[in-house]
Symmetry: none
Subunit: 295 residues, 2 copies
DNA sequence: TCCCTTCTGAAAACATAGTTTCAGAAAACA
DNA sequence: TGTTTTCTGAAACTATGTTTTCAGAAGGGA
């Protein structure tokens, strides 16, 4: 029936899974992901153990083994073992390569190397106390939160806005057009939090609005790069993300990481209220039929 | 009976074998040597296979498993598997402390662990050929590029749009409001590239617009999660990013990584034109005095 | 909405793996 | 060499793993 996979012979199991991934069904994908999680060990136990670990039934496992072009589960497992033998006995394979099926000079690998290194440096430079302090600020419902980004970082501000908005009220995203900023400023109150994103090619206008906000007693949280935006002197809290990568542009990945970590922190700290809000949102989304519930 | 080996708990199998080697009988030594030859793979098959490979009987194998301090052969094998897991599974991503000045249970460290692991899995599942193919497509100036994201992923679409726009012409970002989509569709031509972002809680409307675009001969590139959006079947190219993190929400960090890698790939491939464009943009930004040059 | 197709897992059927028994073989000792 | 002890593997047996079947569930299409 599924003999369309005759060209699969002697391919890596991971490769095969990847190749057929979009022909797999829901339960099969769930299983595929479990197999790829700590590959290949998870596939070396019994079919029952694998089924349980992935939360599917044993027939599903057996079926997928056939779908991948094997005669049955034992054959699938034999292939895993022989792959392992090839990997373990080859000391070269122990080196850290991110995308194992690409040469290390491939942009994917070079990029991954740099980004992980950037993450390393960023976190070591970041004081957890300051992180916690910011999370704390954002948890206080009486403080309004305002977000603003620059030309490139506006998307990040938007992303953070989308999530904060799900968790609490009084969150606003300031539009990038600087001519309308004065209107936003007069709506800011003492004790409000103003989150600004500014990376190199620092934008002058941002500095101006930050100064005005600071004068009104607004607490400024700055997300910037390793060199530090000039408006650091107006800010109470700073995050410095490393952004240099092998490209003509800078990478926002580490900055997005910090944003998500902050969001996770806030969510963690206000678990009760946020889950409550989320459930309500869930119902709302259901109702508008815009979104379909995930299996 | 052979309970003299009670101190063996949680030792490596190879260690245990060496420890009691001189208490082993002839057939058992023969077996021991087979196990130690390409360790540990040889021990991961069936007891029968191992017996045959070492030229002894199955009872001998079972007996030795007990002699080494295990309850039986399956227990022996489980130990081998768990050793393997510790050895093979990426030592880098496992329990590394990212922010050294925070406890490893701090959300920053937990989050970093997971994201790096996600990056790992994502890259191993990603075929570099498909990556290159997408980069290739985006380099062809005659193809128009259209971008669209969902509720959460719109920011990512915007980010990619901002960068692609700097590099080439004919790039458009489709607004999130689905009522206006038909207007965008009629402007799409055969051979155009349509980049869609869709992660879990997959949005139905996206599927509809994708179908319509596919009918017009538009090439669809999909950024989705590890489970795969249902519109995968309409798309020619797919990126599956791992998005699960210790939070109530999913993480877009790995997806942003992929986006940036694609952007870097395009920029790399079209170096001459892009640098030319960038210089012109540079002059333009200078002129509007919106941006200040770095340092 | 209904119908049809596809997917899924419980349970039965089946196959293989693992253990125990036991008689013969090999070694150890006198 | 004879006696005793220990070792070994064929075979029977038991446990566990794997596949098949099938009915209900979920999803897609009209």
């Amino acid at each position: 029936m599924t003999n369309t996979t005759s060209s699969n012979d002697s391919q890596f199991v991971s490769q095969r899974i990847q190749d057929c991934f979009d022909r797999l069904t829901r339960a099969e994908r769930q299983l595929a992901n479990t197999i790829l999680d700590n590959y290949p060990v998870s596939g070396l136990g019994s079919i029952t153990a694998l089924a349980e670990a992935s939360g599917v039934s044993t027939p599903t496992v057996a079926r997928m083994a056939r779908k991948l072009g094997f005669g049955g589960f034992p054959e699938f497992q034999a292939q895993l073992r022989s792959e392992l033998q090839a990997t373990v006995s080859n000391p070269m394979a122990r080196r850290e390569v991110w995308a194992q099926n690409a040469p290390d000079t491939h942009i994917l690998n070079r990029f991954a190397d740099t980004v992980v290194e950037n993450l390393h440096h960023t976190l070591n430079q970041q004081s957890p106390e300051e992180f916690d302090a910011v999370v704390d600020l954002l948890c206080q419902p009486e403080r309004a939160i305002h977000l603003l980004g620059g030309r490139i970082t506006q998307s990040l501000a938007k992303y953070m806005f989308t999530h904060l908005q799900m968790m609490r009220s009084k969150v606003s995203l300031i539009e990038p057009n600087s001519s309308s900023w004065t209107h936003y400023i007069i709506n800011m109150n003492k004790g409000d939090v103003f989150i600004i994103f500014d990376v190199r090619r620092y934008e002058r206008d941002l500095q101006r609005i930050a100064e005005m906000a600071a004068e009104r007693g607004v607490i400024i949280v700055l997300f910037t790069d390793q060199w530090g935006s000039p408006l650091g002197k107006h800010s109470q809290h700073r995050f410095n993300a490393r952004i240099e990568v092998p490209s003509a542009w800078d990478s926002a990945t580490v900055m997005l990481f910090l944003i998500e970590a902050v969001i996770a922190g806030v969510q963690d700290k206000t678990w009760d209220e946020t889950t409550d809000r989320m459930e309500k949102l869930e119902v709302l989304f259901e109702h508008t039929k815009l979104f379909r519930k995930f299996i």
